[in-house]
Amino acid sequence: MGDLILTPNQYDRFLEGTWLTVQVLGYSFVLGIVLSLLFGVARLSEREWVRGAALVYVEFARGISSIVLLFIIGLAVPILLDVGQAPLVLLASIALGLNMGGYGAEIVRGAIEAIPRGQTEATIALNLSPTQRLRHVILPQAMRIILPPMGNLTIEILKGTALISLLGAPDLLQQVFNLRQTTLAGDAPVSLSVLLFNALIIYFILAQVINAGFRYAERRLEARYEPRQPDIAGTPETAGAGG
C-alpha cells in the first residue's frame, strides 16, 4: 500500500492544478450566489413577468445538465458570438455559476417563504421600503435556512469543476493526465489509477474544507441569534406580546 503515496514533486504538480480548480470554484461561487439571490427574490416578485422570467431561468439552469451547459458555453457560444479565443476559466466559471444559480435560487426562494408572514407585515407597518425589508429583515433571517443547503450546493459545484478538464483547462484532473505522460516517459512509473485515487483524495479534502467553512459560518450566525432568545422568553411582557 506504500505505493499509493506519490513523490513530493508530483504533489507539487497536483497543487498547481488544485489552485486552478479553487479559482474556478471561487469565480463560479460568486456568480452563483449573486444569481441565486437575484432570481430567488425575483421568483417572489409582485410583477408577473419578473416571476415568469425567473421561473424560465431556474427551470433552464436546473434542467440542462452542467456538463452540457459547459460544452455549450465553452465551445459553441464563442463561435456563435464570434469572440474568438475567450479565456477558458472565465467561460467555465460562467457555465458553472449559471448552473449553481438555478439551484441556489430555489434554496433562497424556499428560505424566504419559510420566514413567518408577520415579519413582512411588521416591515410594512414600520414603513420600510421593499429593499430595506429584504436587506435588514428578511434575508438575515433567511440566511440561517439558506446556509446548510448552500454548503451542499457548493460541494456539487466543486465536483462540477472537474468537468473543465474536458475542455482542456489545466485543472487538478488534467494534471493527473499530464503527470501520467511524464511518468510514462521515464521518471518514477506510477499507475493511472493510483494518480486518480490521489486526485480523489484532494477533492475530498477540498470538500471537507468547504464543509467546515459553512459549519463555521452557521455557528457564527447562530451565535448572533442565540443570546437573545432566553432574554425574550424571560421577560413576561415580551413573551405575552407574541401570543
Binding site: G63, I72, K159, A162, L163, L166, S193, Y203
Partner: protein, 294 residues
C-alpha cells in the same frame, strides 16, 4: 363532517358489521399498477430496444460560412435522439445499481456495530464529495489495470464494456445519494411503529419486511426520483469511457464535420426536452405522496 354534527333524533342504528378487509395488495390497485407497468415497459424497451451505435455519420454538410445552419441542425435530430436513448439506457442501468446498493449502504450505516457503520459512513462521505468524472476515470483505469471486466466478458451478457463501467461508476456514485434518501425514509417511520413491532415480538425480518420498509419506501420515493433525474444529467459524462451517448454524438460530429454550434445546441435542446418533463413528473409524485401522508 356535516352529518356527524347533526343531532340524531332516533336511536343510533346498530353499528354496521364491517368485515375486516386487509389493505388491497398493490397489484390490485390500478392507481399503483398503472405507473408501475409504464415504468417497467419503458425500462425493458430502453434496455432491450436501444442498441449502441458508436457511428454518428451525417449525410450532409453545413454551409461553411454561416455559424448556424438550420437545415443541418434539423438533419442532426435523429442522430441526437439515438445518442439520447443510449444515455437514458445508461441512466436506468446505473440507477438500478444505485437503488439496490444504496439500500444496503443505508442499512450498513444504521448498523449497531460501529465496525460496520463507521466505514460505511466514511465511504458514503468520500464518494459523495468527489467528482463523478474523476471516479469514472478511476474505474476505467482500475478495470483496465486489473482486467476485472474484459470486453469479451461484457459482450457475453449483452452490454459493451464501456457501458458497464458507466453503470458501475454512476451506480456507486448515486448509491451514496440514494442511501441518504433511504435513511431519511427509514427515519420518518414513527417511533411508535418500531415500539409496536417490539411489543408484538416480531422477529427482525418480519419487522423490516412488513412494517418498516412498506412505510419507508413511499417516503423515500420522491428523493429517489430526484436522484434519477440528477443521474440522467450526469450520464452524458459516459462519453469519456466510450459510451455512445448524447455528448459522444456531439463530439463525433464535431470531429467529423468540424461543426460545433449545431450539435451542441441540439444536445442542450434535446436534454431540456427530456429532463424537464421528468422533473415535472417527480414533482407530481412528491405532491401526491405528501397528500397521501396527511
Amino acid at each position: 363532517m356535516t352529518d356527524t354534527l347533526q343531532p340524531s333524533q332516533t336511536a343510533p342504528p346498530a353499528p354496521e358489521q364491517v368485515e375486516f378487509q386487509p389493505h388491497r395488495r398493490w397489484y390490485r390497485r390500478p392507481e399503483i399498477l398503472g405507473p408501475v407497468l409504464v415504468v417497467v415497459v419503458g425500462y425493458v424497451l430502453l434496455i432491450v430496444g436501444v442498441e449502441e451505435h458508436s457511428r454518428f455519420s451525417t449525410r450532409m454538410t453545413a454551409e461553411g460560412r454561416s455559424d448556424f445552419d438550420w437545415m443541418y441542425f434539423w438533419h442532426l435530430v435523429p442522430l441526437m435522439v439515438r445518442g439520447l436513448l443510449v444515455t437514458a439506457k445508461a441512466t436506468v442501468l446505473g440507477f438500478t445499481v444505485a437503488a439496490i446498493l444504496g439500500f444496503f449502504l443505508a442499512l450498513g450505516r444504521r448498523a449497531d456495530s460501529r465496525w460496520v457503520s463507521w466505514p460505511t459512513a466514511a465511504v458514503i462521505e468520500f464518494v459523495r464529495s468527489t467528482p463523478l468524472l474523476v471516479q469514472l476515470f478511476f474505474w476505467l483505469a482500475f478495470i483496465r489495470a486489473t482486467g476485472l471486466i474484459t470486453p469479451e466478458g461484457a459482450e457475453a451478457i449483452g452490454f459493451s464494456r464501456s457501458l458497464l463501467i458507466l453503470t458501475l461508476g454512476l451506480g456507486i456514485h448515486y448509491a451514496t445519494y440514494c442511501s441518504e434518501a433511504y435513511r431519511a425514509g427509514i427515519d420518518s417511520v414513527p417511533k411508535g411503529q418500531w415500539e409496536a413491532s417490539t411489543a408484538l415480538n416480531l422477529d427482525p425480518r418480519t419487522k423490516w419486511e412488513k412494517v418498516i420498509i412498506p412505510q419507508a419506501i413511499p417516503n423515500a420515493l420522491p428523493a429517489l426520483g430526484n436522484f434519477l433525474v440528477a443521474g440522467f444529467k450526469d450520464a452524458p459524462m459516459g462519453f469519456i469511457v466510450g459510451v455512445p451517448g448524447i455528448l459522444f454524438f456531439a463530439n463525433t460530429v464535431r470531429g467529423e464535420d468540424f461543426r460545433v454550434t449545431e450539435p451542441f445546441f441540439l444536445v442542450g435542446v434535446g436534454f431540456l426536452m427530456a429532463s424537464l418533463p421528468a422533473a415535472w413528473l417527480v414533482r407530481r409524485l412528491e405532491e401526491r405522496i405528501a397528500y397521501e401522508r396527511t
